[in-house]
Structures are given as structure tokens and as C-alpha cells.
Symmetry: C2
């Protein structure tokens, strides 16, 4: 159902990462970006844009969607590094530092993050409509000191420690929730949503981000390496407190369903054109990887 | 002469990096940003802003200046990592990954880069005057795929190889020149410079960036570890082709002086208020570290 949209995202990502000199860095960036993935964040941005009645002919929404996927990918590349999670496989393929080398992986991550902002802030007319700049700001904030980065920091610090429920919630809502919130808010802002709808998208993103991470915790104990494309039971191996280890599998599954339902309800409140967004969130509920 | 300005930059950097939860990442970011340094890039931005007659009461120019220093610092932190230059000392102090650990250093670099964009794109009024967004775009471009990052990529690739003069020029003009150009152009753009003055600042930045890097190459063979605060003869040790190894010390010194003179001449063309900028560039000519 969303395959056509995913294909458009993939094509645009490929175009944006077409290697020019120095080719090796573009190849490393492209390798990780094109290594698969659900394209959940760019899809959420495009569907939020549609949900608030955004201009169908606005080409910049696709640029922003791709930029967000680059930011997501940079975080994966750096998380996989030997000094961090030290993972050899990601989506069933060698991680960036295994396929290339560590220096290249560090630079590819830095490159994707910087390039994402270059793309979002590019306007050859130099007119710069405020909503695009605001969307880029929300993305900066939510991928950094008010979202993904600080979530990752607390996650790294918490490894091997018995953390409390509040800390786990902070990690989940920021590390995963940051970019999901950013996707939805930026889509709404670029689509011309009013402040009340932007707030609704933020709250929807909070539910979804939390739900998504709980599902990840569930899959880590219920799935297989073949299906996930990465080792299972990794949380236990890394002595990580998860939603499942803290509350048990049954409550995790119940809360996950409840949060997802809440998110779908909020999506529907956005208006008539929000149907696809609601459908997409629903489709994530049953995801197996 | 520029001490007062440097103190203002330091104070604002300290304020912006005041630790909040999670404190450790702010401490690591602050440690590296406050570990000394000439503040050349923020100074150049402030002086370019003044040179084109920018509004003295505009507080955002200082925010941009600090953001650029954060981007510069992120690049130093990542360059020092074991997988890159593997340096233990920077400005006479332990590098970030030696003072903290490698994971923290990777995240501190990522944090500084992301936070820099958050700061530049923040406007509580959501009015977003185009010149600020354009300045942020120039900084994104010149710190990334059109400047510092690609310069660093080619530098890393070239280690231990006999590169030609064109490749060395590419490395110098991008790796060091990128942020110097960005500082001058952003200062001019935010100060309301017309396109011809922005072009002049870009060309000035190109000369200065090249000159600055040639001087670095010269100091690596003529200075001492005590003065530099880092090991000397490191280029030879790392089998790096430099301006000095390619053209000899005499020509390097001659070209360095010529490029600096050219830069000062260009600065003077900016107008009456460009005196301080010209003075500052002149003061760099005799730098010993």
C-alpha cells in the first residue's frame, strides 16, 4: 500500500547521494542509507503533510523527508561503532565500519548529518519561507539536545545498570521518539498546519515513539535473528533494562496496543485527509521486524 | 586587542553549554569547547559582520559565532579519535576521548554539530528573516559536502600517499578553508552585505584558509611541542604531504606572506569599518601557534 511512496523516497535518496568527488564518502553514506529499512520516518513526514492538507506540488517536503532519513541513518552508523554497540550486522548486512572502515564510518555519519541540514536549508531563491526554517529547527532540536542524542546518551550510560521506570521512559521517548515526533511535526509545519494541529502531531509522535520502542523490546525476546536481520536477545546480553524486563511481556504487549490505538485516534482527529496516516500507524502495530 | 571580544565569545559559549540533564554530555561538549583555542572563526564572523556595517544590537550574530565554534570543535573531537588521528593531546590537554571515553567523544561531537544548527535556527518569534537561514545554509554547506568534511575525507585518504599539488590544495582549501569562508560569509550575510561584498568575503576566506593551513604546515617543522601544545613533526611521522614537503620551507613562507597580504587587501575593500578585520588578519600572520 505504501510501496509507491517508499519507492519515491528511495529514488530521491539515491539521487541525492549519487557519488561525486570524493566518491568514497558518498559511497559509504549511500551504502548505509540504501541498506534497507522501513523508511518509517520519511513516510510519517509525507503522510503528516498530506493529513493536514499540505500542497501536493511542494517538492521540498520530499527533500525534508530524505534529510530526516539521513539523520536517522547517521545515528545508526555511529551507534554501531566499536566504541558504542560494536555491531557487525545491521539489517542483515555488514555495518558501515565493517564494510568500509571505522574512520570512514565516523565521517559518513558526520557527512549525513551535515548534508541533511544543507539540503533542508537550501532555497535557490533565497526567499526562505519561515515554515521550512521552523521545520528544520524542530528537526535539529529533536535529533539533538531535546530528543534522539540525549536519549542515546542516557541509554549508553545506563548499560549494565538497574535503571528506574522514569529513566527508561526518558530513553524511549527521546532516543526513538525524537525523530518520530520530528517527522510528524515537520510534515505538519511544512503542510501549513495551525498550532493546535502541530501540538496534536507532537502528542501523536510521543505515543508512537514510545510504542515503537516497546515493540522493539518485545521483538528482541520473541523474534528470530533471520526475521529481524540482527541478533535477538541482545538486550539481555548487554544487560539492558527494557520495557519487557521491567514490566513483563504481557503488560508490554498490552501497553503497546493501547499506545498504538491512542496514536491512531489522534491521527484521525487531524481531518479527512488523515486516513492514510492512520492506516500506516495501524500497519505498524503488526510489524514483525 | 581582541581580548574583550574573545571574552564575550567565551562567556556565551559557557552559558550555552551550561550542563543540564544528562550532564555528562554537556560536560564533555563544554570540556572540548572551553579547552582553549584562538576563537579565530567566531572572531572572523563578528569582525566581518562589523566590516559590512551590521547592526551592533543584533544578538543573534554572537549565537551564530558560537555555533560555528561548536562545529569547529566537533570536527577536532572526531579527528582526534583513535580511528582517525589517534591524538592524546589537544591544546596541551587530554583529548575528549582520553578525558572521558570514546563513546562519549563520538556523542559529544555529534551533539555539538546538532546543537549548532538548533541554535542557529532558533527564533522564538518564528519570523525567520531569510538572511539568518541563508547564513545557516552556507555554514552547513561549507562544514560539509562543500568544505570541511570532504577536505577531511581526502586528507584521511591521502595519508601515506604521494599526492599531487592539486589534491593538497583541495585538502587545504576545504578542510581548513571551509569554516573560515563560512565565518566570513555568514558574518557578512547576517550584517546585510550585498552580493558583491559576500563574494569578496568568500574570496578573502579562500586566501585566508589556504594561508592558515600553510602556516600550520610551517609551524609543524619550525616550532616546539611546548609552544604548539601538540607534537611537532607530526606530518612527517604520519607520512603526510604538506605545502612544506612539496614546495620547501622558503617558498611556503613566501607564499604564506603573499596570501595573507592579499587577504588584508580584500578586507580593506569592504569599507571603512573593515579596519578591525584587516588588523586581525594581520595579527594572524605572526602567530606562533
Amino acid at each position: 500500500m505504501f510501496n509507491e511512496l517508499i519507492n519515491s523516497i528511495d529514488e530521491e535518496l539515491k539521487r541525492l547521494l549519487n557519488p561525486v568527488y570524493p566518491e568514497r564518502i558518498y559511497k559509504a553514506m549511500g551504502y548505509s542509507v540504501m541498506a534497507g529499512g522501513k523508511r518509517m520516518r520519511p513516510l510519517l513526514m509525507l503522510l503528516a503533510h498530506k493529513a493536514v492538507g499540505g500542497d501536493k506540488n511542494d517538492k521540498r517536503i520530499m527533500t525534508f523527508a530524505c534529510a530526516l532519513e539521513m539523520i536517522h541513518t547517521y545515528s545508526l552508523i555511529h551507534d554501531d561503532l566499536p566504541a558504542m554497540d560494536n555491531d557487525d550486522l545491521r539489517r542483515g548486512k555488514p555495518t558501515c565500519h565493517r564494510q568500509f572502515d571505522e574512520a570512514t564510518a565516523i565521517l559518513a555519519g558526520d557527512g549525513l548529518l551535515t548534508y541533511a541540514f544543507e539540503l533542508m536549508l537550501y532555497d535557490p531563491s533565497f526567499k526562505y519561507e519561515p515554515r521550512y526554517t521552523r521545520a528544520a529547527w524542530e528537526i535539529a532540536r529533536l535529533s539533538g539536545m531535546d530528543g534522539m542524542l540525549v536519549g542515546q546518551v542516557v541509554d549508553v550510560e545506563s548499560e549494565g545498570k538497574q535503571i528506574d521506570a522514569g529513566t527508561l521512559e526518558y530513553i524511549h521517548k527521546n532516543k526513538t521518539g525524537g525523530l518520530i515526533k520530528a517527522a510528524l511535526m515537520a510534515g505538519g509545519i511544512i503542510g501549513g498546519a495551525d498550532e493546535s494541529k502541530i501540538k496534536l502531531l507532537e502528542s501523536l509522535g510521543e505515543d508512537m515513539g514510545y510504542a515503537f520502542q516497546i515493540k522493539d523490546d518485545i521483538l528482541d525476546v520473541t523474534s528470530t535473528e533471520e526475521v529481524l536481520g540482527k541478533p535477538i536477545l541482545s538486550d539481555e546480553k548487554n544487560q539492558k533494562v527494557t520495557y519487557v524486563s521491567l514490566y513483563g511481556l504481557e503488560k508490554a504487549q498490552k501497553d503497546y496496543i493501547e499506545l498504538s490505538r491512542q496514536a491512531v485516534d489522534k491521527a484521525k482527529k487531524l481531518g479527512e485527509e488523515a486516513e492514510q496516516l492512520a492506516d500506516y500507524i495501524n500497519s505498524l502495530v503488526d510489524r514483525v521486524k
